[in-house]
């Protein structure tokens, strides 16, 4: 339980640090999405129910801080009452991406980090792409300019670059708080893991 308390503190810290992360205009307005990277790194290290709980918490705080009530034109006609990206949408995104990233958890538990690192970058990009597609759906006309592709690529790169450090930090924290992430071989495939040693 202590470890999960530490994870929640880590997410809170990532929100604070996110405030200090600048937008890189030279990289088509992309930035390091630290909160996303931290959540996806945690999602690869914890069991499914814990991932869902943390997706709920992280997505809720993200929307509380960054959600913008921009309404589509249809809202004026009373067809939609929700903003383009409704409050809570990030929770759904985190849940879906967390679900995907859980697929590479066995590799991470074996000590293989290549695919998890790639997946953290990919999931960050997919999160942004889904948001962009939803906005495009509301506004009509799908525009995919080259700048958009560069922005998504750069964001993925920033996330992938920082993710090994995050995974290392998680391993260290797990050791410190006696939580078992890594195991040699997946012998107990159908039982819950993460129990205290």
């Amino acid at each position: 339980m202590k470890f999960f308390g530490v994870l929640i503190s880590l997410i809170a810290l990532s929100f604070i640090l996110q405030e200090f992360v600048p937008v890189f205009y030279w990289a088509y307005g992309s930035r390091l999405l630290l909160v996303h990277a931290v959540f996806f790194a945690i999602a690869v290290a914890v069991p499914f129910p814990a991932m869902l709980g943390l997706a709920l918490l992280t997505g809720f705080i993200w929307d509380a801080r960054y959600h913008l009530p921009i309404y589509p034109p249809e809202a004026m006609q009373g067809i939609f009452t929700q903003a383009e990206l409704p409050f809570g949408f990030t929770i759904l995104i985190f849940g879906l991406m967390g679900l995907m990233i859980q697929g590479v958890r066995p590799l991470f538990r074996l000590g293989r980090w290549e695919l998890p690192v790639f997946m953290i970058g990919l999931c960050t990009t997919l999160s942004l792409l889904i948001e962009y597609l939803v906005i495009s759906f509301h506004r009509g006309g799908l525009e995919i300019p080259a700048e958009l592709c560069w922005k998504l690529l750069m964001t993925a790169m920033f996330s992938s670059l920082i993710s090994p450090f995050l995974l290392l930090l998680l391993n260290r924290l797990a050791d410190r708080f006696r939580y078992r992430i890594r195991m040699k071989g997946l012998k107990r495939r159908y039982t819950y893991d993460g129990d205290a040693i």
């Binding site: 604070i16 405030e19 509380a64 801080r65 009530p69 849940g95 700048e147 958009l148």
Partner: protein, 296 residues
């Protein structure tokens, strides 16, 4: 998937649906709370950004700094005098307009605000400023900045985050739409930014011009005031080119405001006194007109 996982998944979906059904008022309350919690960090990040920006600027010798200080002080004194004179003019103008019972909106009542966060959102071109509900800022209030002799339109308030914080949706965003006109021409249209505003200084799109629209590059584009949200004659940008279509024409416009360099902006406050006067005047007028109708 185990039974316990399914239970957690259902609980997650239920909570997610419940949260997405929150009313806008509840969302606003949550966001105000978040803003209060994050305010110290937002302020600190703004200070860090300012300090880093200052580090990057060219280092000056003490003599240069003294000269610069003297020039700045002189400019400040001159501007203070101008502000006092302008305040007097605005007051006089207000009085004259009220005296003439103009039905149009009163001249601007402005408050200055400082940018505290740039582009906090991934897909919307926005800024966060340090003025909010207690300062009289309301949703849809236009935000301007001086550009030469004109007032350049920055955008509009899209969300009041708290007592001293509000979000400005910039003109470069696709969702900030302003009725605009080409100066020295009868051409009018709707101007807006680009989706995602992925470029550093994205051009604006002036749409719904007539098919025959024609104007030289460099023509000023100003707000027309048609939509009533934005006052007329706010400077929006300069015409780059016009592309004629089958039904209408679309123009590319270079923004008049340097959105990256924004530090201080002005918010046009809603003129509550004039609104109240209008509201009270209308029933009186109806009361006067009513007997006349009964006579007829």
């Amino acid at each position: 998937m185990s039974r316990l996982n399914i239970v957690f998944l259902i609980a997650f979906a239920g909570l997610l649906i419940w949260i997405t059904l929150f009313q806008p008022e509840a969302v606003a309350t949550i966001q105000r709370g978040a803003m209060v919690a994050f305010r110290p960090f937002i302020r600190a990040s703004s200070e860090v950004e300012g300090a880093l920006g200052a580090l990057g600027s060219e280092a000056l010798s003490p003599a240069q700094m003294r000269r610069k200080l003297a020039a700045t002080e002189s400019a400040r004194d001159r501007l203070q005098l101008e502000v006092i004179q302008l305040d007097e003019l605005v007051k006089e103008n207000n009085q004259l307009r009220r005296a003439l019972s103009y039905k149009e909106k009163s001249p601007f009542e402005l408050i200055a605000a400082r940018v505290i966060t740039r582009k906090p959102s991934n897909w919307y071109s926005t800024l966060v400023i340090n003025k909010g509900r207690l300062d009289g800022v309301a949703v849809d209030s236009p935000v301007i900045v001086p550009v030469g002799d004109d007032a350049g339109l920055v955008g509009k308030i899209t969300e009041v985050l708290g007592d001293h914080a509000a979000v400005v949706l910039l003109l470069t965003d696709e969702m900030c739409q302003v009725s605009a006109k080409l100066v020295k021409s009868q051409e009018q249209g709707i101007i807006n930014g680009q989706r995602g505003a992925l470029q550093r200084l994205p051009n604006l799109r002036l749409r719904y011009l007539s098919k025959e629209a024609n104007a030289p590059a460099g023509t000023k584009v100003m707000s027309s005031g048609t939509g009533e949200l934005f006052p007329a004659n706010l400077y929006l940008g300069e015409l780059i080119s016009i592309d004629s279509g089958i039904i209408d024409s679309e123009a590319k416009v270079r923004p008049g405001v340097d959105f990256d360099a924004l530090v201080d902006v002005f918010i046009i406050l809603p003129d509550l006194a004039a609104d109240e006067e209008l509201e009270t005047a209308e029933p009186e007028a109806e009361a006067i007109e009513a007997p006349a109708e009964t006579k007829l």
